[in-house]
């Protein structure tokens, strides 16, 4: 019993059956004619100090997952537990306090910084909003944060447009760190950066994780990046979970046909390696009207009898590896 409680305490984030539908409203009376099923029943958990990589192609709903957990969007259904407390049931006052513990790093280093604020004000805004410290203390904290992310504190009066993309991303990271959060949603934090800068920012994120015992939900579509940073990986397709496993397991032994296709698309920097690419046919179907049964069956090369009829259940194949696929069930 005691052991169980202990194991629970180690889970910082627990998401249970998260659903987010965007209603489609038409006509003068605002009739709901349908819904975009951006996220349709996703569950996962992240232990403290670990990184979960959330992968999927554009439109798979991975960004929506991040935003709803932070309550930047209201969920349709489900639970998101932060240290055992349901984020979705929190009152505004509780939510405000929670914001100190949960932060986000954005994809676009240009759009995520207010162009009229000097960098020091951007990084110090969380402290100001939460009334932490006086002017002097806030200023010291800002300088400290700038040093932590590798920016010169002298530049705190400069404006965002004076910095490069990588430097701006560091500003965004410093802002996220300002209140010493426990959990950070990194929403494609490097996909807008040059490859050479990507590695610097990723190294920084890893350094910070070690230093401050941070927990990351790392959203990305670049598998090489995810492989590098994640302890565990979850693959999403059309708002649904396809496969989730520990990092090594997923990359060495992908079981879901979709994961296999994704992995086969990762370029290998060696001209002699002849790789068999699995080319997916067609486009990702509309999340307004997702396919029946397994949402991936329209593009799956192994599809058979039950695939287009009923949703597959998650199957545990051992060592914390779960797959939502009939093919695996058959074997």
């Amino acid at each position: 019993m005691e052991l169980n409680a202990d194991a629970n305490a180690e889970l910082l984030i627990q998401v249970i059956d998260l659903v987010k539908h965007f209603p489609i409203i038409r006509g003068i009376i605002g009739r709901k004619v349908g819904a975009v099923k951006a996220v349709d029943g996703i569950s996962f958990e992240i232990p403290r100090g670990r990184t979960l990589g959330l992968v999927g192609e554009s439109g798979s709903g991975k960004t929506t997952v991040g935003r709803t957990i932070l309550r930047l969007m209201e969920p349709t259904k489900g639970q998101a537990l932060f240290e055992g407390k349901d984020v979705f049931k929190m009152r505004p006052s509780e939510l405000r306090l929670l914001r100190r513990d949960m932060q986000i790093i954005f994809q676009d280093p240009f759009g995520s910084l207010n162009p009229r604020f000097p960098v020091g004000d951007i990084i110090g805004e969380p402290l100001l909003v939460h009334g932490l410290g006086n002017r002097k203390e806030r200023q010291n904290r800002v300088s400290e944060l700038m040093e932590v992310v590798g920016l010169r504190p002298e530049y705190l009066r400069r404006y965002p447009h004076e910095f490069s993309g990588g430097q701006r991303q560091r500003i965004g990271i410093a802002r996220a760190l300002a209140m010493n959060p426990k959990f950070i949603v990194a929403d494609e934090p490097v996909s807008a950066l040059d490859v050479s800068i990507q590695s610097q920012v990723i190294n920084l994120l890893e350094e910070l994780q070690e230093k401050f015992n941070l927990t990351y939900l790392f959203i990305a579509h670049d598998l090489a990046v995810v492989r590098h940073v994640s302890d565990r990986v979850a693959v999403m397709y059309l708002g649904k979970m396809m496969e989730t496993a520990d990092n090594k397991d997923l990359f060495s032994n992908p079981l879901h046909p979709y994961t296999q296709a994704l992995l086969s698309a990762v370029p290998v920097p060696d001209p002699d390696v002849k790789k068999q690419r699995i080319i997916l046919q067609g486009d990702i179907p509309s999340p307004i009207n997702p396919p029946k049964g397994c949402v991936f069956h329209t593009r799956c090369r192994y599809r058979f009898e039950p695939c287009d009829k009923e949703k597959p259940e998650g199957i545990d194949v051992g060592s914390n590896h779960r797959v939502w696929c009939y093919l695996v069930a058959k074997q």
């Binding site: 935003r67 932070l70 930047l72 939510l95 405000r96 914001r99 100190r100 932060q103 986000i104 954005f106 994809q107 676009d108 759009g111 995520s112 910084l113 207010n114 162009p115 009229r116 805004e125 969380p126 909003v129 939460h130 590798g150 920016l151 010169r152 530049y155 009066r157 400069r158 404006y159 004076e162 910095f163 430097q167 560091r170 965004g172 802002r175 300002a178 209140m179 610097q200 920084l204």
Partner: protein
């Protein structure tokens, strides 16, 4: 530290946003002309007028009936009017009122309009719907007859005039600001502000309105000019500023009755008209220049 060596690259000397605006504004000839005229005009009306009164005793209440319609001379640079008052003094005191009405009403209208616009754009939904339909209604009212009725109902005067201009002047800005806010509110820096727990008011004032300043400042400038003309029009119709308190509008109105008077008569309409024209033109020039300087992307937009 390894990171340090990579990121200790020196940045170019800093130019703040307002420094860049000033650099661009200074290069705009018409705008600089407009700004200079406005400054001179304000100095003339608010500083020179009391000095003239103090040194010569001329005031808009000091009549000199034997000396009516005197042509310009060393004693009266613009001559005298139908009651022997110094025309220059009349115009400068009139300018005080006209400029005050223009400034106060434009600032108040823009303030209200911006707030309506930012609330409407940020919250969206039924709040947006309600505010924008109200704006539509206000915009479709036939304003001139309403001006007349309201001026009569509240009694013509300085504050009635400002009330009318504010009441019927905020809608343009409300729409303008709402449009800008709609394009800004989905930017990630607004989401970032939400994520750190900033209140809606903070987001609206500190993030959205600050980034709408370009259009707000430009439209304020243009509105000041427009409201000065509006004051003149209403005063000309006898529904604005009431004599003996002069304003450019009612000085024009009085003058229009003496076009065929002897001596200085025909000129009486020229001086206030010219001052009015020059001031409004200058505000418009300055508005154009500010628009180009504040946000070069807005060029050609009004």
């Amino acid at each position: 530290m390894a990171l340090d060596s990579i990121f200790s690259v020196e940045l170019a000397p800093s130019f703040s946003y307002w420094q860049m605006v000033w650099t661009r504004f200074r290069k705009h000839r018409l705008a600089m002309f407009g700004a200079s005229v406005i400054i001179i005009m304000i100095l003339l009306c608010f500083v020179a007028a009391p000095i003239i009164t103090a040194t010569t005793g001329y005031h808009y209440t000091s009549m000199d009936l034997p000396n009516r319609y005197a042509l310009p001379s060393g004693a009266h640079w613009f001559g005298t009017d139908d009651m022997g008052r110094d025309v220059l003094t009349m115009i400068l005191y009139g300018g005080q009122v006209s400029i005050e009405v223009g400034l106060i009403s434009a600032l108040a209208a823009v303030l209200i309009g911006s707030l309506v616009g930012v609330v409407s754009g940020y919250f969206g939904g039924w709040i947006d719907e309600a505010l924008m339909r109200f704006t539509d209604v206000m915009m479709s009212l036939p304003y001139l007859p309403l001006y007349l009725v309201l001026a009569m109902a509240f009694g013509p005067g300085f504050w009635t005039l400002i009330g009318i201009f504010v009441g019927f002047g905020w809608m343009g800005d409300a729409r303008l600001v709402r449009g800008v806010v709609l394009s800004l509110k989905n930017m990630e820096f607004v989401e970032a502000a939400k994520a750190i727990g900033a209140s809606p008011w903070r987001i609206m004032l500190k993030h959205l309105l600050i980034n709408s300043m370009a259009v707000i400042i430009v439209s304020t400038t243009l509105l000041i000019g427009g409201n000065i003309v509006g004051e003149a029009a209403l005063s000309f119709l006898g529904l604005g500023i009431q004599p003996p308190q002069p304003s450019w509008g009612n000085v024009l109105q009085t003058a229009s009755g003496y076009i065929f008077a002897p001596g200085n008569g025909p000129w009486l309409i020229f001086y206030p008209g010219f001052f009015l024209f020059l001031t409004v033109l200058s505000f418009n020039f300055m508005g154009d220049g500010l628009r180009d300087a504040l946000d070069p992307r807005l060029k050609g937009y009004r």
